[in-house]
């Protein structure tokens, strides 16, 4: 289980997260929604150790992640697919996947992970020798997900994995995420596609101006009047 309690993150004066609490139970897929600038990326980066928490607790499977460097968080099995993909642009697709399996624990399973990834994304097998920076947006997002799968995550943190993609490709990405969750990977999913993400999630949290304002079962949130108005445009 991922437990975040009273998390505070500041950028100088700005209190980007103001006492946020959230839980993701083992095996669940949880959606985190919120408008631009709400603090969603900040939340994931604090969990991953890219930015320090001013106060609060973060733990995964009972071990605290507070104060760990990002590589240590990865070692603990918490793997982020960052906003904007952040591939290694001048490395080939193959090398990007290898970097996903950089840590020894994942590297041991390099060959089987690669096979698994190519089963999910057959297109990537054809692109293997191409530079990641030369791929289309949809292909790049596939590489970003594939790289994360190579890391053998226990918990996946996904930051807007469908942003800027054509609807068909976005749907495919959501399908893959749902499939990974079915195979037992716990996931925290940030997405602007509220309907889509609540449809595949079990629980949902709404983040507004650095605070959680609404949370509950995904089905309930879909019926919630406030969410319908603010996020679904109904």
């Amino acid at each position: 289980m991922l437990v975040v309690e009273d998390l505070e993150v500041r950028y100088q004066e700005l209190r980007a997260l103001q006492g946020v609490s959230l839980r993701v139970a083992e095996g669940d897929l949880v959606a985190l929604i919120g408008s631009n600038g709400a603090g969603k990326t900040t939340m994931l980066n604090a969990i991953s150790g890219l930015i320090p928490a001013a106060s609060g607790r973060i733990s995964w499977r009972g071990n605290s992640l507070v104060g760990l460097s990002p590589d240590r968080v990865c070692m603990a099995g918490v793997v982020q697919v960052p906003e904007g993909r952040k591939l290694f642009p001048k490395m080939t697709v193959e090398e990007n996947l290898e970097m996903g399996a950089y840590l020894p624990a994942a590297r041991k399973h390099l060959a089987e992970s690669r096979k698994a990834v190519f089963e999910i994304f057959p297109l990537l097998a054809e692109r293997e020798k191409q530079l990641a920076g030369s791929l289309s947006g949809g292909e790049q997002q596939m590489v970003a997900l594939a790289r994360a799968i190579m890391a053998k995550p226990g918990l996946l943190l996904l930051d807007e994995p469908s942003l800027g993609l054509a609807p068909v490709i976005a749907a495919e990405i959501f399908q893959v995420i749902e499939g990974l969750n079915r195979k037992g990977i716990t996931a925290l999913l940030i997405s602007q596609e509220v309907l889509h993400s609540l449809n595949i999630a079990k629980y949902g949290y709404v983040l507004e101006n650095g605070k959680i304002t609404i949370h509950g079962k995904a089905g309930q949130l879909l019926d919630d009047q406030r969410i319908k108005e603010s996020y679904l445009g109904l």
Binding site: S48, L50, P82, K86, P89, A151
Partner: protein
């Protein structure tokens, strides 16, 4: 114009240039990957040259073989320097200027150390083969230059293979291209930076010995070498191994040709004029960076 002389000076230029490349690659890599402009890079190379000098004159060890001593020693020294002097700097947002000041200080310390140990006299690496030449048709090649050339080729290939084929080398490239993502997938930035710095200084050691095979040297010579390092980065682009290699060769050929056909005092003038032209028209360097 005498065609034989043109080719002869081009060959000499390529041999010199390959050594510039070896000396410059690590400088460029550290600049690109770590955002550290290591002003002491050439001083480490010079220190290795002096070590070779002593090993040659006291124990008769060939300069090329003496690299087996200086490279590991300087690798360790570089790791220690990284850990205790450079790593603390990396907390700052922009470390280019502080790192220049720090490494300038290191260069001064090294220079004075060399003055103390080896005195200010100019030295030459005089081996049994120093005056030997290979003659091929109308061309002749001096042994020390051939040795320097082979050393440089080997060094460049080793660095290139390290970056392309080993996991650690790939992590170096990844950390440079996408720092955050590299960390998110388990790359320990400090460790990778230390390795990068250590390797760069090691390659400077090999390059310094290569330079010493070509030119005489004394404890201030690293200041002159430093100018060549900047040349390599300006021509080759920051952080690119291939760029640095090609830049070294280009600079070598230009220097070789101008030494053959221009009065001595024009050589540097021409080199720097070309440099300014490059800076004006292609500030990113002549060759695309690709690490």
């Amino acid at each position: 114009m005498n065609l034989t002389l043109v080719f002869q000076s081009m060959f000499s230029g390529i041999m010199m240039g390959s050594v510039f490349a070896l000396l410059g690659i690590g400088f460029s890599l550290v600049w690109g990957v770590m955002k550290v402009i290591n002003i002491s890079h050439a001083a480490f190379g010079l220190l290795a040259a002096f070590m070779s000098y002593t090993l040659l004159n006291v124990w008769g060890i060939d300069p090329i073989l003496s690299i087996a001593v200086s490279v590991p020693l300087l690798f360790l020294a570089a790791c220690v320097i990284y850990r205790f002097l450079i790593a603390p700097l990396t907390k700052a947002r922009d470390i280019i200027v502080p790192s220049m000041i720090l490494t300038f200080g290191i260069a001064i310390i090294l220079e004075n150390l060399m003055l103390l140990i080896w005195s200010p006299d100019p030295r030459l690496l005089t081996t049994a083969y120093t005056s030997k030449v290979v003659i091929l048709g109308p061309f002749y090649f001096q042994y020390p230059r051939i040795a320097g050339f082979l050393l440089a080729c080997a060094g460049v290939v080793v660095i290139h293979m390290f970056l392309k084929k080993t996991y650690t080398g790939k992590a170096v490239r990844a950390a440079w291209q996408q720092r955050d993502a590299a960390q998110l997938y388990g790359v320990n930035l400090r460790w990778i930076s230390m390795i990068t710095f250590g390797l760069a200084v090691s390659s400077a050691a090999a390059g310094g010995v290569g330079m010493a095979l070509l030119y005489s040297f004394e404890p201030h010579t690293h200041n002159l070498w430093l100018i060549y390092l900047f040349l390599v980065v300006i021509v080759g682009g920051v952080g690119s191994v291939l760029g640095a290699a090609l830049a070294g060769l280009t600079i070598g050929i230009i220097t070789g040709l101008s030494m053959a056909f221009l009065p001595y005092q024009w050589v540097n003038l021409l080199t720097f004029a070309l440099l300014m032209i490059i800076l004006i028209f292609r500030p990113q360097g002549l060759f695309q960076s690709e690490v």
